[in-house]
């Protein structure tokens, strides 16, 4: 089966990187090579294959393949950026481990197995909270993240098990399905750290580098969201399509998150917290998508998830490149950044285009569809306007960049430079070239990831077709019945 090489490579490399974490340079090199190998293995995945392992079916889909390819590309860019910017050492291994868990979770038709697989990916994230100094503070942030991950996992496991059996004899069927549905979707909300479950996610931005934030609060939770969507589509939606109170709770969480997280991102005074709250705000759309509860929501929610994870990674890359160039993430100290580095301006504009979208973009249409599935006019129009709120904090970032800078600068130059190579000291020369091109190299990586995000948001790479494709359960059934 074509998924197995990906699983083997990603799991083995993650394990090797964790063993080698005492030697950061080697560990990072191993993970970078592993990400390249995983990308090749992901591209080689053939959709529509199934295999039975240990009594459970594993099936490949177009969505799985695209998710992993985009994940490997984003992971590579973020890992290179982290290496260039001197970011914490475990971030690339955590990304690869998260993708390994994602590969397993997204290929399993049975939610009872997929949820534990998705939860394992979340637990790996604690590694990036551990800093050499301030270990207790890092451990405090880390255990809060573990708490959120396990509470979400336990809720989802219990919910999936509750209605997995034949329930013909159930006396209170609507209530049981409603509670199970609410439990699973609240689990997704907890995992994303959306408001009001945001305390741990907000603190995460204190301790985790920018390049690791999307892994912990976007890629990992997105896997659980996809599993939840498949579970709702298979187990809940066909039985009882209407849950008034349960959906009202989810809609409330989604709308409050979109509004308040956008406001919170707007008033932050450092890049990491702007990034953290921006991820939270966009995750609110996914919660709304889970509230839509119907087959019409299947494609738009999955399109939005793909656009969301890549766009947030691109914004994280921009934040990391800005910090690497200007040696600070404090907005007050970043006055004049746009005057100094044109590539970063272009990267941020592309991130804005990818995140907010343009009419006709797949992500734009997906977001509109989700909102219109839930609301009639004028509420749908109002919420769609609220969803343009991220423009506020992006414009603020641009405005800060255009202001007159504080006196003096220690910023890296955005133009590449090539100091002479001393053939007697090749390694020293390479290190010197990397150091003097710190600003240029990180800006180029941010720009490349921003381009990938725009493409994904626009619907390139077969995003819409992959999102509209069947889930692993349907693929497995199609193979069993000879339809595929």
């Amino acid at each position: 089966m074509s998924l197995l090489p990906f699983l083997l490579i990603s799991i083995a490399v993650t394990g090797a990187a964790l063993i080698l974490r005492g030697r950061p340079t080697i560990a990072t090199s191993v993970v970078l090579a592993g990400l390249v190998a995983s990308l090749i293995a992901a591209l080689a995945i053939r959709p529509g294959e199934t295999i039975v392992i240990g009594g459970a079916t594993v099936a490949t889909t177009d969505f799985l393949r695209l998710f992993l390819v985009l994940g490997c590309l984003s992971g590579l860019a973020l890992a290179l950026l982290g290496a260039g910017a001197g970011t914490r050492r475990d971030a690339p291994a955590v990304m690869l481990g998260t993708l390994a868990a994602a590969a397993l979770a997204l290929s399993l038709p049975d939610a009872r197995i997929a949820v534990p697989a998705a939860t394992i990916g979340g637990l790996l994230g604690v590694l990036v909270t551990l800093a050499p100094t301030g270990a207790r503070a890092g451990a405090t942030v880390g255990i809060r993240e573990v708490r959120a991950v396990i509470i979400a996992g336990a809720l989802a496991i219990a919910a999936a098990a509750w209605i997995a059996r034949p329930l013909g004899d159930l006396a209170v069927q609507p209530q049981v399905f409603g509670f199970a549905y609410l439990g699973f979707t609240i689990a997704v909300a907890v995992r994303f750290g959306v408001i009001p479950f945001h305390f741990w996610a907000a603190r995460l931005a204190d301790a985790v580098p920018e390049v690791a934030l999307p892994t912990l609060t976007a890629w990992g939770p997105a896997v659980l969201a996809v599993v939840a969507l498949a579970w709702i589509d298979r187990a809940v939606a066909p039985v009882l399509p209407e849950f008034g109170a349960e959906r009202a709770v989810l809609i409330g969480i989604g709308v409050v998150t979109i509004v308040l997280a956008t406001f919170a991102a707007w008033i932050q005074d450092d890049l990491e917290h702007v990034l953290g709250y921006s991820i939270m705000g966009d995750a609110g759309v996914i919660i709304l998508g889970l509230a839509a509860l119907g087959t019409e929501a299947w494609t738009p929610v999955r399109v939005w998830i793909l656009a969301f994870v890549v766009a947030r990674s691109a914004f994280a890359a921009w934040c990391a490149a800005t910090r690497a160039t200007f040696w600070t993430g404090r907005l007050d100290d970043l006055r004049g950044w746009a005057r100094h580095s044109p590539p970063l301006v272009l990267a941020l504009v592309l991130v804005i285009v990818a995140s907010v979208g343009l009419p006709g973009f797949a992500a734009w249409e997906a977001r509109s569809t989700i909102v219109r599935l839930l609301f009639g006019e004028p509420w749908a129009g109002l919420l769609l306007v609220a969803l343009l709120g991220p423009i506020l904090y992006y414009v603020r970032l641009l405005a800060i960049g255009l202001r007159r800078p504080h006196g003096g600068t220690s910023a890296e130059d955005w133009r590449p430079s090539w100091p002479g190579i001393d053939l007697n000291q090749v390694r020293t020369s390479i290190v010197k070239i990397a150091r003097v091109n710190r600003g240029a190299s990180t800006a180029v990586l941010a720009l490349l990831l921003a381009l990938l995000a725009v493409g994904t948001s626009a619907g390139a790479f077969g995003v819409t077709e992959a999102a509209a494709g069947a889930g692993p359960a349907v693929e497995a059934e199609a193979v069993e019945t000879g339809l595929r």
């Binding site: 009594g55 197995i113 301030g134 209170v172 603190r203």
Partner: protein, 226 residues
């Protein structure tokens, strides 16, 4: 109720009572180890040796990783009300679990698993919600996870072998995560497994960008004096 499964379920709950009651970190880990091992026996089919072996391995590995973090000493919060209160709470929840078998529909798994799951969930609430040290919160999270897994076994029947392998990996990963965090907390000062105070948590992330190269000197600009 099957008496053998009932005894195993009682052992699961007894280990959990010890884990949440005692203040000695090592003893708490021993109690948790008993819970994890007996829960593996309760949740697995004996005629599926791969799944059972995976569950046992996952539980033992998780406990061993926690032991590495706790063996140097260190206390955890423990129960403020004492073990009898915890035992009564767990016992009450156990019987609720027995009475609510299947949760409204015929159960496919052993009722003892659901009862033990209810007891573990009841014991997990306080450590997870109010724990003030890494080890106590971690133990609560183990109990919560095992509760969900056992309730799942009680409702939906015994899991497939792949499910057992994946959940064993999850248990081991949780052990590794809590152990790494506990070790980090213990290695930072004299506070043992205690969490940092809130003011210390709000750190300014000074270490993300390593200043490997000397920076150009700051130049005072015209804006500074205003």
């Amino acid at each position: 109720m099957n008496p053998v499964l009932g005894t195993v379920a009682a052992a699961v709950v007894a280990g959990a009572v010890v884990a949440v009651s005692v203040r000695d970190g090592r003893l708490a880990v021993v109690g948790l180890a008993a819970t994890l091992v007996f829960a593996a026996l309760l949740g697995a089919q004996l005629d599926a040796p791969l799944g059972l072996a995976a569950s046992l391995t996952g539980g033992i590995l998780a406990a061993y990783l926690l032991w590495i973090a706790a063996r140097g000493g260190g206390t955890t919060g423990g129960s403020r009300l004492g073990w009898p209160t915890e035992a009564l709470l767990a016992g009450a929840a156990f019987f609720v679990g027995l009475g609510a078998v299947g949760l409204g529909a015929p159960a496919l798994g052993p009722v003892e698993a659901q009862a033990a799951g209810f007891a573990l969930a009841a014991l997990a609430v306080v450590p997870v919600a109010t724990g003030r040290d890494v080890l106590r919160i971690g133990i609560g999270l183990f109990l919560l996870l095992q509760a969900a897994l056992l309730v799942g076994v009680g409702l939906d029947g015994h899991p497939s072998q792949l499910e057992q392998v994946v959940t064993a990996a999850l248990v081991a990963a949780l052990g590794g995560a809590v152990a790494a965090l506990g070790y980090a907390a213990r290695s930072d000062g004299s506070g043992g497994f205690d969490l940092a105070t809130e003011s210390r948590v709000r750190i300014r992330r000074p270490l993300d960008a390593r200043r490997e190269s000397p920076r150009p000197p700051e130049v005072t600009g015209p804006d500074i004096g205003r």
